[in-house]
């Protein structure tokens, strides 16, 4: 009984850490403009819209976070092997991993922006100085929280994977969940704030991103502030639920029915999310649209 209570406590803590990690990851990627919406940041100067948005997408978020968190976890693991206190080891490992992220962000911004020189896009050094440190700060929170939850899963819950391997697995999952949830909010709602609410961006408007703020030109810190209102927290809750429910079903139900307990609970959770998804979809169809008259004959 005591071990189950301990397991649930660790599970809750890991879920909370994952929530923080997911939110920080999405805000970091939006400030750095690393996800799929970056295609528009790259496209804008080619369409004649010069901007002051940061631009560091060289890899997608999942492999990038897989690298940084595996690196942080690997270094933390090495420090722990040197008998350094785990908390200090995780802080040191995450700190070094963040410097790699900083180098990556700097070279990516310089390289990608310089490639747009023929379209008249300047490399803004003040943007480089002020944005890079902010993305690094958010990346540190995401890496530290994820490495810590990996350490809890390994040391307290007894998962067989070593810390660096867990870092790679959950780093890729973090990037996948964060980019899937947060990208549309940044891409549609922020970059195309001048387009109508409640409709997708017409393909003809591609590249015409919003470049001016309340005062002066918009920069990526404004985008971070906007993402922190919904895209970031939603990504956090998404990744937090993934980690929490995956651990919860295993810790509580793995011993039930020779392993079948965790499977049945997992299937029930999937069905619950399916019902919620369908409810939201139907709610949207009743309350929004239709945009045009229903078509009588299928014309696929």
């Amino acid at each position: 009984m005591e071990s189950i209570v301990f397991g649930i406590g660790i599970t809750a803590l890991a879920g909370a850490l994952a929530t923080v990690a997911g939110a920080a990851e999405n805000v970091e990627s939006d400030i750095g403009s690393q996800g799929d919406p970056n295609s528009q940041v790259q496209l804008a100067p080619q369409m004649g819209y010069i901007h002051r948005i940061f631009n560091k997408a060289v890899a997608g978020e999942p492999p990038a976070y897989g690298l940084w968190i595996a690196l942080g976890a690997g270094l933390a693991w090495a420090f722990m092997a040197m008998q350094i206190n785990p908390i200090l080891a995780i802080v040191l490992g995450s700190g070094i991993a963040v410097f790699v992220q900083g180098v990556y962000a700097t070279t990516a911004y310089l390289g990608r922006t310089a490639s747009l020189a023929k379209f008249g896009q300047p490399v803004y050094l003040d943007i480089l100085k002020s944005m890079t440190t902010v993305t690094m700060a958010h990346a540190f929170i995401a890496i530290f929280a994820t490495v810590t939850l990996c350490h809890l899963i390994n040391a307290a819950l007894g998962h067989p994977f070593p810390l660096p391997l867990l870092g790679l697995v959950w780093g890729i999952a973090l990037g996948a969940a964060g980019s899937a949830t947060g990208n549309p909010f940044y891409g549609k709602e922020r970059q195309y704030q001048n387009q109508k609410f409640g409709a997708g961006v017409p393909i003809a408007a591609s590249g015409n991103i919003v470049r001016y703020a309340e005062a002066g030109e918009r920069n990526s810190l404004d985008n971070g502030w906007f993402s922190a209102k919904l895209g970031g927290p939603a990504s956090g809750v998404c990744f937090g639920l993934i980690v929490f429910l995956e651990l919860w079903r295993t810790v509580l139900f793995e011993q039930v029915g020779a392993g079948w307990g965790a499977i049945i609970i997992g299937i029930i959770i999937i069905l619950v999310f399916t019902v919620i998804d369908r409810y939201i979809e139907v709610w949207a169809r009743k309350n929004y649209g239709p945009y045009s008259k229903p078509v009588e004959e299928a014309s696929s």
């Binding site: 799929d36 409709a199 793995e254």
Partner: protein, 280 residues
Amino acid sequence: MSAVAAKPTAGSAVDMTAMIVGIIILLIVIAATYFVLGYSLAFIALIGIIIGGILIGFGVHFVPVGGAPAAMGQAPGIATGVAMLAAGAGLAGLFGGAWAAQTTDNVLVIVITGAVGGGLMMAITCMFVTFIYVFGMGIPCASGKVAKDPITGDTQPEFKSQGTEGHGLPFVSYVGGVIGGLFGGAGGTLIYLMLLNLYKEELPGMMHALPGQVLPIAVSLAGMFAIGMFLVNAVLAAYNITGTIEGPHDPKFKRFPRAIVASAVASAVCGIVAIMIVAV
């Protein structure tokens, strides 16, 4: 050949010569393994790895991925890359499967646990995608490829906003995402389990150590190879899809036979390397 002369639908054609060459390579690898190692644990591991690879390659085709256009609400699907989203789900499944492998020897339970882990990750992610589209952006779900959702029968074209190919995740895409996660999680876990059993058997003799001493090495090696092979198969399937796919109702889904052959060959070649480090 000029761009004008190139076949516009070359992406969906099945090249029979390439398929036959692929199948021959696959059979050669299987036959060579059988003649060198006989009907051993290594041979069973190779077959398991090939089946796992096929499950991953097939499963990736179900995952609705819209890429960059989806991030602007210009196309349906999830706004990220095919291989990466599938990897995120499959590795979450592998995490669950590896954990189950610690407490039970029942292959079916371990593989299904991994599958459910992948499905769970995709179910939560897809639900949040719909949540953001509907409540964050005020956009309903609409498919660009079919007039009616094959599962719910909901009509789609009138919910497409002007100048877009559709947006969000119609219910069939949601179901496709979960099925993709299930296949990915199962495939990754099967590869891990096959390699783990082989390494646990062979490493103590090779390293002159007790089984308990080599277990962490066996787990780490099997985990690394499983992640690597997962990425190989996910990327191969992503090349087959070429960009974006809405799910099982998308015409691009019919390309999956090519991915199955390619995944089988790639898994066999990668698998033989993973096996040779202990078995030869």
